[in-house]
């Protein structure tokens, strides 16, 4: 669409609402991108989910110049590591070829079509492919530069003027003085600046006519513009759809603003044509050489053999990569499903646990739960880590509220923090210390960025900064200990409160009915036994990292990229209230007087667990708590050692990494995630799921109408799918769908990172979260496997009536396997939206035919 257009007055064909609708549809080409402080996992291809997975990946790759698959070199490495089973790879290759007849078709004597594919997958030399960071075009760099200035959240020393006018108008006002714009667009660009409409919708309507975009092509044209800078476009989506109004009010921007800027550059001829696609692969020569096939051999072969040879020789890397991915998925599924089926047939006698602990569904909870269960009679369950509370928390002394809930929900309640009961003096001391730090930091920041004070500040504070830097580098844990000795722990002295006070006396944040609803959801969704233990602990989680832009990505996704302790504390307090227990009893859920609810937070980086509000524990439960603390400590040590091996470090080193400013990989996060299991813990308790499975507790016998299962599949599973897709796509193309190497990133505007000194906001995970130091992939890019232990008919009804589920399962974004409690049979949801073959049948059939 690079075309110079004459500067004549044009009459728009589309109305403002038509343009608004087209822009809104085009905006879906990219997902919303959350800022760093609340980094939420999103599927970078969320806008393509209405398409079958393979088609979607191909289309997105074309739109965003991205890879469609992990490089074959990486897949071969995963194969050598045993992450892709040989048999599964042959099965997947056979399916790709169209079945056993095609696969076994002879090409030349002793060589089948299958042999050709396997050679291409595993042995043939590979073409050197594109790696590294792609440079943005001059036009993209120009728009990205203005976006960085416009969306700045206080990082810049002086703010961009005219921001209140909106992105498009503010940039229009400054472009006449922009040398880069002048160089790109020349006189035509200057003339256009005088004549284009000042309203972005009107400007788009005019540009569509001026650029002669054919009728019916408008949405695709606009969507292609949106996808040119998916990071900044995604940031706009976050601001308009998910941010609190006060975030965007000083600098309003919509997708129409950035699209209008692109069209301005298009009209002035500043956008160069996209680079030509890479030439398709032809491996004919290499294949022939590998199998010693000489040209004369074809004379005696049927034409079909040559056609089949050519078909394999012309398979592109994306197709071969898809075979590898399918094989990884099948191998994993066909190992796990029979194990779960076996466990489903075994009866476990109910027993009273010493304590029940309800963890977040996060994959990192699974190995910790297993380690804890090994320490004694502990029952563990999985539940969404926000514990069902749709809240925003007003932290003491924080400028903005934090949304502690999944992004699928809008906050329904505002909760405030207050000094913990009985800890008011310590809280005051803590707040004073924090205020001093804050003021000092502000002063230093102002002095550092002031034109008159910058050098003097460096001179004056340089020696002190050097000492601090040396301490942070050489003795970060000692430094942390010194700080902890003088300043109380925040969570010990400040707590979220169930009451708020607006000067007219304390008032409850939640009504009795709301509290009852939160409590009921816990029991209903998890199937938490009414045979409650003396201690029931709600365990949120968060990570630890210093000087790490992606620190929030290690926190709880269900809590909007925050640690989950506050939600756990609130629900525990609610469940200890006597009138809530009375109301629950009226609903048939009896909590014994001997049961006491507590809240805790699992640090997924160090495997330490903090138990909150211990000073409130009744004397009668102190011995129970002491025993639990000892078990948690042992479980933490065990899990830390196991995780350290995966990071190729010592367990002790994980504690150092959690406080070290130079640490680039404090933990593996959710790398390796592969499945989402909905069912009782008894199904998986004896299995080592290697921290790859989201575990959501569910009791099908406690959910006759299927509402609990509907909630689990339409909310926690959807979040798990986002996470799965973010890890998958960030791995297959870390430059386009991820954020690249951490060591060359820079934070921009306090909202995201760029590579080097400019360009688009990076959208996904950094290289260090997915790849080892030697560059090999740690994460296996495979689609989520959802496993549900429930009656077949119940699941079918739910999937058929929930659009989002039929879309995800029907378009192969997620594989659904249902294990029926009555028959013990495992059934797989087929992409034609009917319950299909036995989950293990597909590969078994191939095995028999081979």
């Amino acid at each position: 669409m690079n075309m110079m257009t004459p500067l004549i007055a044009v009459e728009p064909l589309l109305s403002r609402t038509e343009v608004a609708g087209l822009v809104a549809l085009a905006a879906r080409r990219v997902p919303p991108i959350w800022p760093l402080e609340t980094a939420i996992a999103v599927n970078p291809l969320a806008g393509y989910e209405k398409l079958p997975f393979e088609t979607a990946v191909a289309q997105a790759a074309a739109h965003m110049h991205a890879r469609q698959s992990l490089p074959l070199l990486q897949w071969r490495q995963l194969y050598r590591e045993g992450k892709v089973a040989h048999k599964a790879l042959r099965d997947a290759a056979m399916q790709k070829l169209g079945g056993i007849y095609e696969a076994m078709a002879p090409i030349v004597p002793h060589v089948t079509q299958m042999d050709l594919v396997m050679a291409r997958l595993l042995h043939l030399p590979l073409r050197q492919d594109r790696y590294g960071v792609a440079e943005p075009s001059p036009a993209a760099a120009l728009i990205a530069k203005w976006c960085a200035a416009f969306f700045d959240q206080g990082q810049a020393a002086s703010a961009m003027p005219h921001r209140a006018l909106g992105l498009y108008r503010a940039v229009l006002a400054l472009l006449p003085y922009d040398e880069a714009y002048r160089a790109l667009t020349g006189a035509q660009g200057q003339q256009l600046l005088l004549s284009v409409p000042r309203d972005p919708l009107d400007a788009i309507a005019e540009a569509l006519v001026a650029l002669q975009v054919p009728a019916g092509q408008e949405e695709e044209t606009l969507a292609a513009l949106v996808a040119r800078l998916p990071g900044w476009a995604g940031h706009i989506r976050w601001r308009t759809e998910h941010a609190d109004p006060d975030v965007a009010a000083p600098a309003p921007a919509t997708m129409a603003d950035i699209v209008a800027l692109w069209l301005l550059l298009e009209r002035s001829g500043a956008c160069a044509d996209a680079s030509a696609p890479a030439s398709p692969t032809d491996a004919s020569e290499a294949l022939a050489a590998y199998f010693h096939i000489t040209p004369d051999m074809w004379d005696s072969r049927p034409a079909a053999a040559r056609t089949r040879f050519a078909a394999v020789a012309h398979m592109q890397e994306a197709q071969l990569g898809f075979i590898f991915m399918t094989a990884a998925e099948w191998g994993y599924r066909n190992t796990l499903v029979p194990q779960l089926q076996k466990m489903a047939t075994q009866k476990t006698a109910p027993r009273t646990a010493d304590a029940q602990l309800i963890f977040c569904i996060d994959v990192r909870s699974e190995p910790f739960r297993r380690a804890l269960e090994a320490q004694g009679a502990y029952e563990t369950l999985g539940y969404a880590g926000f514990f069902g509370l749709p809240i925003a928390l007003h932290k003491l002394d924080a400028a903005r509220r934090a949304r502690l809930l999944p992004v699928l929900l809008a906050p329904q309640h505002d909760v405030a923090e207050a000094p913990a009961q009985g800890r008011e003096a310590q809280a005051a001391r803590y707040r004073m210390h924090e205020a001093q730090i804050r003021h000092s930091q502000n002063l230093l920041d102002s002095a550092k960025s002031g034109t008159a004070t910058a050098f003097a500040t460096a001179e004056a504070t340089g020696p002190l900064a050097a000492v601090v830097m040396a301490a942070r580098t050489l003795a970060p844990r000692w430094l942390r200990k010194v700080r902890d000795a003088y300043v109380p722990q925040r969570t010990e002295v400040i707590a979220p409160s169930l009451h708020h006070d607006h000067g007219q006396g304390a008032k409850s944040c939640f009504s009795r009915a709301e509290k009852l609803g939160f409590a009921l959801s816990l029991f209903k969704l998890t199937g938490l036994s009414q045979n409650l233990a003396r201690l029931v602990v709600l365990v949120g989680h968060g990570g630890s990292a210093v000087n790490n832009p992606y620190a929030a990505a290690l926190d709880c996704g269900a809590c909007g990229g925050h640690a989950g302790g506050s939600n756990a504390r609130l629900l525990a307090a609610i469940l200890n209230e006597s009138d809530v227990r009375t109301a629950l009893a009226e609903k048939g859920i009896k909590i014994p007087d001997s049961s006491y609810f507590m809240a805790a937070e699992h640090n997924s980086t160090t495997d330490d667990v903090v138990i909150f509000d211990q000073h409130h524990v009744p004397n009668s439960h102190k011995a129970d708590l002491d025993a639990l603390k000892r078990s948690l400590e042992k479980a933490g040590a065990h899990n830390r050692t196991a995780r350290a091996q995966k990071l190729a470090r010592t367990a002790e080193d994980l504690h150092t990494g959690a406080v070290h400013w130079g640490e680039v990989r404090p933990e593996w996060g959710l790398s390796g995630n592969a499945a989402f299991l909905v069912g009782p813990r008894s199904l998986s308790q004896s299995l080592d799921l290697e921290g790859r499975v989201f575990l959501h507790s569910y009791d099908w016998q406690n959910d006759e109408d299927g509402t609990a299962l509907t909630t689990i599949l339409t909310a926690p599973m959807v979040v798990a799918q986002w996470i799965n897709c973010q890890y998958l796509f960030s791995t297959i193309d870390n430059d386009r769908y991820g954020s690249g190497d951490k060591t060359t990133q820079n934070i921009v505007g306090g909202i995201g990172v760029v590579q080097g000194n400019g360009g688009d906001l990076r959208v996904g995970l950094p290289q260090q979260s997915l790849f080892r130091d030697d560059g090999t992939a740690y994460h296996v890019p495979q689609r989520l496997l959802t496993l549900v232990y429930a009656p077949f008919e119940r699941v079918r009804k739910i999937v058929e009536t929930q659009d989002i589920l039929s879309r995800l399962f029907g378009n192969n974004w997620v594989t659904l396997v249902v294990i029926d409690p009555h028959s013990g049979k495992a059934l797989r949801w087929r992409c034609d939206a009917e319950m299909g073959a036995d989950a293990t049948t597909a590969s078994a059939l191939y095995e028999m035919e081979i």
Binding site: L22, L408, T714, V718, E800
Partner: protein, 112 residues
């Protein structure tokens, strides 16, 4: 406009538009209403009902983006026709229904 039933009460004739879309599409409709100049609207969340593709459930408790929502907006005919024109394009790509009707309101300035 006055009539015998309403006595001295002065009524103003305007247009009403009702729009039912998937909850995940609600921002598309809001963008359109704003672009047309509709000053305000009512949004009813969690609408359920029967349609061409079967029964649409209400939203699930942990996902505001599931289920259907209904918008009700009132404005002058020119503005509402502008909204309808945009919706016609939207419904080429996304599912939804809309109803237009004449209404009478007491405070016309309220819908300006």
């Amino acid at each position: 406009m006055t009539n015998s039933y309403y006595g001295d009460l002065k009524l103003h004739r305007l247009k009403k538009i009702e729009i039912v879309v998937h909850a995940e599409d609600h921002l598309l409709v809001e963008d359109m209403l704003k672009a047309a100049g509709v000053g305000g609207w009512t949004m009813i969340r969690d609408v359920a009902g029967m349609g061409h593709s079967g029964f649409h459930q209400g939203k699930s408790i942990f996902n505001d983006q599931s289920g259907l929502v209904m918008f009700v907006g009132i404005a002058g005919e020119k503005i509402i026709s502008e909204v309808a024109r945009g919706l016609a394009r939207l419904f080429e790509k996304r599912p939804g229904v809309t109803f237009l009707s004449d209404v009478e309101v007491m405070r016309s300035d309220y819908f300006a």
